[in-house]
Structures are given as C-alpha cells and as structure tokens.
C-alpha cells in the first residue's frame, strides 16, 4: 500500500517557486483572453496559484500539470468575469448570416484571398483577431475562447459555464459566424 505523501515530500517552497516562474506567463495570457484586462488577470492568476498550492497534494500526475493548472486559472477568471459590471451584451443577431424565405443565403458572397499559414500567425493578424474577438458579446466570446483557443472540450466548457452541451455548440457556431462577419472587411480586402 502506498502512503499518501505529506506536503514536505511532494512540493518544497523551492519547487513551487519554479512552478510559478515557469507557468505565470501563459496563465496570465489565458486569464487575459477571458477577462480582457491585464490587472484583473494578474489577480485571477494570483488566486489560482494559492488554490493550486493548497491542492498540489491532490495532483496525482494523472493529467499533465499544465492541463491541471489550466482548470484553476480558467475557473478563477470566469469567477472574476461574472463579478464584472461592464459585460459586452451587444445583440448577436445582426452578426449572424441571413436567409430568405426559401432558406437561401442572402449575404453577398466573396472569394477568399489566398493566404499562407504563416500569415495567419503573423503579429498583424493576431492583433486584428484579438480586437475582433473582444468585440463579440461575452456569452459567445467566452465559449469561442474556451473551445477554440483554449482547446477545452464541449463537456468541459459546458461544466465550466453551467450550460448544456447543446447550448455550448449553438453558441460556439454563432460566435464563429459572428466573428467571420466582423472579419469580412479584412477578408474582402485581402488582409486575412
């Protein structure tokens, strides 16, 4: 039988400092994508780390340390987001595709410019994307951030937000469609 480790066996203060130094940057980035605010994000990361420290005994290496810590920072950031007064609640409908009474698409189609994968990763495109993603209404933006950028599964997102899986899927599709609409001028102009 394996005895559970005591705190001193598993994580010394020195190890914890290493964990903090090695993981703060990406955790701030995650929080910032959810909260859109640097200083709030640092608060979220700080609270997440104090919970991580207290839970380290419970980390049994079943998942990767980063995946395990990811959940903490997402939960803290969502908690802070729920407390924010200034949520973006612009209506999503004007950003969704339109159909006529026969169910045919009415939007003006355009041919996509040919783009390299490198271009999508360029600083310029990432700045545009960041700005446009932040324009999405929060209930949709959050689902897109967690599913498409943070790569959480539909079930994980549903649990984190207290939504049904079906609702997560509907919101994800609408978020992508709305983001496409916001990016259309750039795509038509060949910038994306």
């Amino acid at each position: 039988m394996i005895e559970p480790h005591s705190r001193s066996d598993t994580v010394s203060d020195l190890d914890f400092e290493e964990i903090v130094r090695g993981n703060t940057a990406w955790m701030v980035a995650v929080a910032q994508r959810i909260l859109k605010d640097r200083s709030l994000s640092e608060d979220a990361v700080q609270v997440a780390f104090s919970k991580i420290y207290r839970s380290l005994d419970g980390f049994e290496g079943r998942s990767n340390l980063r995946t395990w810590m990811h959940r903490f920072v997402v939960n803290e950031a969502l908690m802070l987001l729920r407390k924010q007064k200034r949520v973006n609640e612009r209506p999503i409908d004007p950003l969704l595709p339109e159909f006529d009474r026969n169910g045919c698409r009415v939007d003006d189609p355009f041919t996509l410019p040919i783009t390299s994968e490198d271009h999508l990763h360029s600083r310029q495109v990432r700045d545009i994307m960041k700005e446009k993603i932040e324009e999405l209404p929060d209930p949709y933006r959050i689902v897109l951030v967690l599913r498409d950028i943070e790569e959480m599964s539909t079930i994980e997102v549903a649990e984190a937000l207290g939504l049904s899986e079906a609702n997560v899927k509907v919101r994800l599709h609408r978020a992508r469609a709305a983001l496409k609409k916001l990016l259309e001028p750039m795509m038509r102009g060949g910038a994306l």
């Binding site: 203060d13 914890f16 400092e17 903090v20 130094r21 703060t24 940057a25 990406w26 701030v28 980035a29 994508r33 640092e42 990361v45 700080q46 780390f49 104090s50 420290y53 595709p97 159909f99 006529d100 026969n102 169910g103 045919c104 698409r105 009415v106 939007d107 189609p109 355009f110 041919t111 996509l112 783009t115 994968e117 999508l120 990763h121 495109v125 990432r126 994307m129 960041k130 993603i133 897109l144 498409d148 950028i149 790569e151 899927k169 994800l172 599709h173 992508r176 469609a177 983001l179 496409k180 990016l183 259309e184 795509m187 994306l192």
Partner: protein, 100 residues
C-alpha cells in the same frame, strides 16, 4: 440588374433545395459545426456535401468560416510574447500569498 439576377438565382436555388436529398442554405448552416467535427451521420454528411457542391454561396461562406477559425486558433501563440513581460513583483506577490 445584378440584384435582380441574384434574386432570380436564389429563387431557382430555393426550388432545387426542396428536391429529395437536398437541404437549404439555412439547414446547411445548422450542420456546419457537426460537419467540421466529423459528427454527422453518413447520410446527413452526403446531403451536406451535395449542397456544398451545388451552392457557391455556401462554398464561399464555409471557406471564410474555416479561415476565421484558423485565424482564431492562431492567436494561441501569444503565450510566448508574454513570457518576457511577467513582472517580478507579480511572482513575488504569488509566492507571498500562497499560504493565505
């Protein structure tokens, strides 16, 4: 004139999309997410792909939708840039607060 031609084309599509085994653009829209995640049952997938072949609007739409998704996923990379900008006082605050 261009507008009238588009309206006519849409009306013809509207008729065609009611044929058996066909779906409308609106129904196509509802299947996109499941299609991209490969969650459509085979019969529905065939219907989706048939619409894609006959409907240029949806082809162009799906291409832009996929580009949007790829560009959104590419924003993940900004972790690396933040690496250099983590202030030492944040690290110190985290270490000081861990027992609180």
């Amino acid at each position: 004139m261009k507008k009238a031609a588009q309206t006519l084309k849409r009306r013809m599509h509207g008729v065609m999309f009611r044929f058996p085994g066909m779906i409308t653009c609106n129904e196509f829209e509802d299947f996109i997410l499941a299609y991209l995640e490969d969650e459509l049952p085979p019969a529905r997938k065939r219907v989706f792909e048939l619409h894609l072949r006959v409907c240029r609007s949806c082809r162009l739409y799906l291409a832009a939708y996929k580009r949007t998704l790829a560009a959104a996923k590419a924003t993940r990379k900004d972790y690396d840039e933040l690496e250099a900008s983590v202030p030492e006082d944040l690290i110190a605050a985290i270490l000081a607060a861990k027992d609180s």
